[in-house]
């Protein structure tokens, strides 16, 4: 667990970057620090590995005050991923990944062998090992950056805008792989981003900072969407937070109606469209009981007849949800 205990950072110029922040980042979880620029999120992150020291207050890792610890040793025990990866351009990909183990006293050979395994883990084949960072794409560099941070198997990782320098398609892919990796590894991660969507998607816990380094709200992504603490958080989270909050619930408990006559099925019982006079209109997609309410809502809205079709594991239609039934369900759910 990483603990911020009444931490303040005031810069000599007079600006307060972090203003009495107390915060706990739970072990094994991904906590996202998010906020507009100049809100102190990066400053807070960099105080965890003593790249910046607090003006007052304490930062503790697993109950131990980091202020008394040797800076370099502390940092070797904390994975560090930054924007644009910050790879060492004069070292091969393999040697970049082997950096921290070598600092910790492993032989170069041992460190390189372990590094090869890590490259594979972040989705880079062996052929990348001998290349230099300049020969990689931005997304590939960021993967190497993650591998370098993981190399010494640190329990804690700090990530400063790790995915913001790559294009949206690559970012999406990196997000997926990163979440899978985190599921396996269960690191205690602090990640900084300015992108609230990224925070909601990746975070187990989201800490929203406001200008002046004040913590505005610490909550799970869902709580943030459903119950923002104040107008600032509500606005920062965005206008469509209602519909986005539906991403967190599945359609498992959503009641369905029997299949209506105008739903056209094929021989196998799979829905193929809606009959409308002499035409058959497309269904526009189907959902299963494990899909999110957000998807169901979207299907109901885009369906030509205002009805979303549920299918079972074999793809057979087994029920439908109409616009107004969905609205009733959401209203009842809200009331409870």
């Amino acid at each position: 667990m990483i603990t911020f205990d009444d931490v303040v950072k005031v810069y000599p110029g007079g600006g307060t970057a972090v203003d009495h922040v107390s915060l706990e980042l739970p072990t094994g979880k991904l906590t996202v620090l998010v906020g507009p620029s100049g809100c102190g999120k990066t400053t807070s992150l960099r105080m965890i590995n003593r790249m910046i020291s607090p003006t007052s207050g304490r930062v503790l890792i697993d109950g131990k005050d980091i202020a008394g610890q040797d800076e370099a040793l502390l940092r070797r025990g904390i994975g560090y991923v930054i924007q644009n990866a910050g790879l060492f351009p004069h070292r091969t990909v393999l040697d970049n990944v082997a950096t921290v183990p070598v600092l910790l006293g492993k032989t170069r050979r041992e460190a390189r062998t372990a590094a090869l395994g890590l490259l594979e883990r972040v989705g880079l084949s062996e052929e990348f090992a001998k290349r230099y960072p300049a020969q990689l794409s931005g997304g590939q560099q960021q993967r190497v950056g993650v591998a370098r941070a993981l190399a010494a198997d640190p329990p804690v990782m700090l990530m400063d805008e790790p995915f913001s320098a790559v294009d949206p398609v690559v970012r999406e892919q990196l997000h997926r792989e990163f979440l899978r990796l985190q599921q396996d590894l269960g690191k205690t991660i602090a990640m900084v981003t300015h992108d609230i969507d990224e925070a909601i998607k990746l975070g187990d816990v989201v800490a929203i900072f406001r200008q002046g380094g004040v913590l505005a709200q610490v909550a799970t992504p869902q709580e943030l969407l459903v119950a923002p603490a104040d107008d600032f958080v509500a606005e920062f989270v965005g206008r469509d937070r209602g519909i986005r909050s539906l991403s967190f619930d599945t359609a498992a408990e959503l009641p369905v109606a029997a299949l209506p006559d105008d739903l056209v099925l094929d021989e196998a019982g799979r829905p193929s469209g809606w009959r409308s006079g002499s035409q058959v209109l497309p269904t526009g997609g189907t959902f299963t009981s494990s899909d999110s309410l957000r998807l169901v809502t979207d299907l109901a809205i885009t369906s030509p007849v205002g009805t979303a079709v549920r299918v079972n594991g074999d793809g057979k239609a087994d029920g439908v949800v109409r616009h107004h039934d969905l609205a009733d369900y959401l209203a009842a759910r809200r009331a409870s």
């Binding site: 370099a72 930054i82 790879l87 351009p89 004069h90 600092l103 230099y132 700090l158």
Partner: protein, 218 residues
């Protein structure tokens, strides 16, 4: 063009005052000045570049050093210290310091800051950051400063002859003294060829010591 002096076999044995012997003594001054200048300028330049402190020293030393006339400085040193190798060495070393100092400083200052940040962040100590990250990355700039220092000192080491020492300057000074322009020409050509060869060797050395990763990104 009179190349008789240059191509006279009698001038290519290893006797005193022969061209090979003058080349050796010339290179000896060059080597001493480069080693001495590097020992002085490199640590100072690296310190200033690494810490960012005292950058006015690097900038001013660069400007002042370039504007100092070597021959004038040599005469001053001879007046103060008397004849010998020392005044020549001082004058040549002063010539070598500015390009090495400013290139070491500039090489470190212009590095991608995020890489240095990453080096600190993964737990390198300040000296490890300097020698494992900053220096290898700054090597192309540093080497170009060293090469320009080497070229300057090869050409300027001819002043040694004006205070009674050897080196290829002998051919120029003695040739001028007796109006033997063939000898002067020989001196000029050998100095020029030497400069080109030295630069070639340093360029090869640079290829060898600079990481391909840094070369590729330039």
């Amino acid at each position: 063009m009179n190349l008789t002096y240059l191509f006279d076999p009698a001038h290519w044995d290893f006797s005193t005052g022969s061209i090979p012997q003058l080349i050796v003594s010339h290179l000896w001054y060059v080597l001493l000045a480069l080693v001495l200048g590097t020992i002085i300028a490199l640590p100072v330049g690296l310190f200033i570049g690494h810490t960012g402190r005292g950058s006015f020293i690097a900038i001013n030393a660069g400007n002042a050093g370039r504007s100092l006339p070597t021959l004038g400085l040599l005469m001053l040193m001879v007046t103060l210290l008397g004849l010998g190798l020392l005044p020549v060495l001082i004058a040549l070393t002063v010539l070598v310091i500015p390009p090495i100092l400013t290139s070491a400083y500039a090489g470190l200052r212009t590095l991608d800051h995020s890489v240095v940040d990453a080096a600190r962040g993964v737990g390198m100590r300040p000296m490890q950051v300097l020698f494992r990250v900053e220096l290898p990355m700054a090597l192309p700039v540093l080497m170009s400063g060293f090469r320009s220092a080497a070229l300057q000192v090869v050409a300027t080491a001819t002043v040694a002859a004006s205070v009674g020492l050897g080196g290829l300057g002998r051919l120029l000074i003695d040739g001028l003294a007796v109006n033997d322009y063939s000898r002067v020409l020989a001196g000029a050509i050998v100095v020029a060829v030497l400069a080109v060869l030295l630069d070639l060797i340093l360029a090869l050395a640079q290829r060898w010591i600079v990481s391909p990763g840094v070369r590729a990104s330039k």
